[in-house]
């Protein structure tokens, strides 16, 4: 289905708000989601012909509610009594709290009982307003497979007994963490893969940014929400510089920084600055702060590596993630020399045994320390263990470049 960009934009913005209103009225998330999808299809057919309604959210809510009513009417007599109770309420649900509704929807779609892949698919469809076909093509699986994944996800949400009511206290914090993680995964899926042959997937990053903005509208005071949005913007800013014409990866240090998108950097820096001053530091804020230090260096050699090293230290203590330690090792090497970095890698031998990033980082540090032969070996081990083509190509090229340099000097 081809929609005009204007109608596409209206639909994508209105879909979750209409869904929120319909779920609030009828309760059954799985059925309501189907009803809104049907209303979206109807809108895509009618609006270009009859014109865009004054209130797209109201129109979609009305049509989807009618579908729900039809659906409920056709069910058993026992159910009919419940229907009449539902129909007895106000004819048009008022979309007053629709920002909270959308947040409640995101919480449902990112329910902790769902696997990440299922939560991602459900969020993109129910909140992002993408069609199943679009999501399937973004994840390179058949449409039928994606349809099943979404349908199972909806059943899982239903079986979990999750209600549309906003959770409170500790549970609310946990649900927000799950939701932010899903948005982070959607962003990365789009950002990391768009250097390869799958260029269209870059749209997933734009979608993740849009969803993060939606969450921020509902929770303007939450510093981690601001941190995540800032992280996305500060990362997205570098997109035009991060791959060559053939899709090969260009490392940060070698990127043409004049291609970085300064408007995104400015917005990200302002966001992280505001969040930082609120005093409650979290993982996304730290990652965003590190991205901001990189983004604000006009030249690679202007990078404030001491600041980055300190931030990675905090992040490491907070997450205990060995991948963070890898990055801290690189920062340590920039501040105190390659030996310091290599020393930090030693304790990772066990937790990251055989991981290509460990070997790639060691190769990089060995090269900085002029241990070229050893660096070549590590680049080759890393290349053989890489799980993505752009990374493998990058690592093989590094090994080849060093072999050439040895030949020239000998």
């Amino acid at each position: 289905m081809s929609r005009s960009p204007e109608i596409e934009g209206l639909l994508r913005d209105a879909a979750p708000r209409a869904l929120g209103a319909v779920v609030r009225r009828f309760g059954d998330f799985a059925d309501c989601e189907d009803a809104v999808q049907e209303a979206l299809i109807e809108a895509a057919e009618q609006w270009p012909v009859r014109g865009t309604p004054e209130s797209p959210v109201g129109w979609l809510t009305h049509v989807a509610s009618r579908r729900m009513t039809d659906r409920i009417r056709s069910e058993t007599a026992r159910r009919r009594r419940e229907t009449e109770a539902a129909l007895g309420e106000s004819p048009e649900p008022e979309p007053v709290h629709d920002r909270d509704d959308v947040l409640a929807l995101i919480f449902m779609c990112c329910h902790p009982r769902l696997t990440p892949a299922s939560a991602i698919a459900l969020t993109l469809r129910a909140v992002g307003g993408l069609t199943t076909a679009e999501i399937a093509s973004a994840f390179l699986v058949p449409e039928a497979t994606m349809a099943q994944r979404i349908s199972r996800a909806k059943q899982t949400v239903k079986a979990s007994g999750a209600s549309f009511a906003m959770p409170e206290g500790e549970e609310r914090a946990g649900r927000l963490r799950s939701a932010l993680h899903v948005l982070y995964l959607i962003f990365n899926e789009g950002y990391l893969s768009s250097a390869g042959p799958e260029l269209a997937r870059g749209e997933l990053s734009a979608e993740a940014i849009r969803l993060a903005r939606t969450v921020r509208l509902a929770l303007p005071e939450d510093p981690e929400v601001a941190g995540l949005l800032a992280l996305m913007l500060l990362t997205e800013a570098r997109r035009p510089a991060r791959a060559d014409a053939n899709g090969g990866l260009i490392p940060l240090a070698e990127q043409d920084r004049s291609l970085w998108q300064q408007n995104l950097i400015a917005e990200g820096v302002a966001l992280i600055g505001g969040a930082w001053s609120s005093g409650s530091v979290g993982e996304y804020q730290l990652q965003a702060a590190i991205a901001a230090v990189h983004d604000q260096a006009l030249r690679t050699e202007d990078t404030d590596w001491r600041e980055i090293l300190a931030l990675y230290g905090l992040l490491e203590r907070m997450t205990r993630n060995p991948m963070v330690t890898l990055n801290r090792a690189i920062a340590a090497a920039m501040v105190d020399g390659p030996e310091a970095g290599l020393e930090l890698l030693e304790p990772l031998e066990e937790s990251l045994a055989g991981h290509h990033r460990l070997h790639a980082t060691r190769a990089h540090l060995l090269e900085s320390g002029d241990e070229i032969e050893a660096a070549i070996g590590e680049y080759e081990v890393a290349a053989n263990r890489a799980t993505s083509l752009p990374e493998q190509r990058y690592l093989l090229t590094q090994a080849a470049r060093l072999r050439e340099s040895l030949k020239e000097t000998s």
Binding site: T115, P116, A117, T145, L192, S193, L315, V324, T387, Q392
Partner: protein
Amino acid sequence: MKFMLLQAYGGVKAEIEPMSKWTPEEIEAHIAYQRELNDELSERGELVDAQALTAPEMAKFVVHAGSGAPVVTDGPSPESKELLAGYRIVDVESPERAIEIAARGSAAPGPGGVPIEQEIEVREVMAAPRLKG
């Protein structure tokens, strides 16, 4: 993460006869098992593709030969046991799940309804670079 599960003509115990010697019921049971597994994977939202390939006798081996016509050799080659019989591509949450599916494939029934215990090669498909943190 996507994995390709490959099965070659070899990789089964020596005493297992080729399928052409099985009874029609045994062949039927084997195919039904594979189909049910595919249906289950599809229902779980994990199946990307599953294909069986035509027999080794139908294989062609093609080699570029400079400006002339490419050299095309007909199968089967003496190493036809190494030729691919079929594959599944699955999109799963973990390597463990891919191994679990491969084990199910390996348990497909053969003569007498006994699992043929075919060896399944499990290979991760190159994807986007993973997350840093």
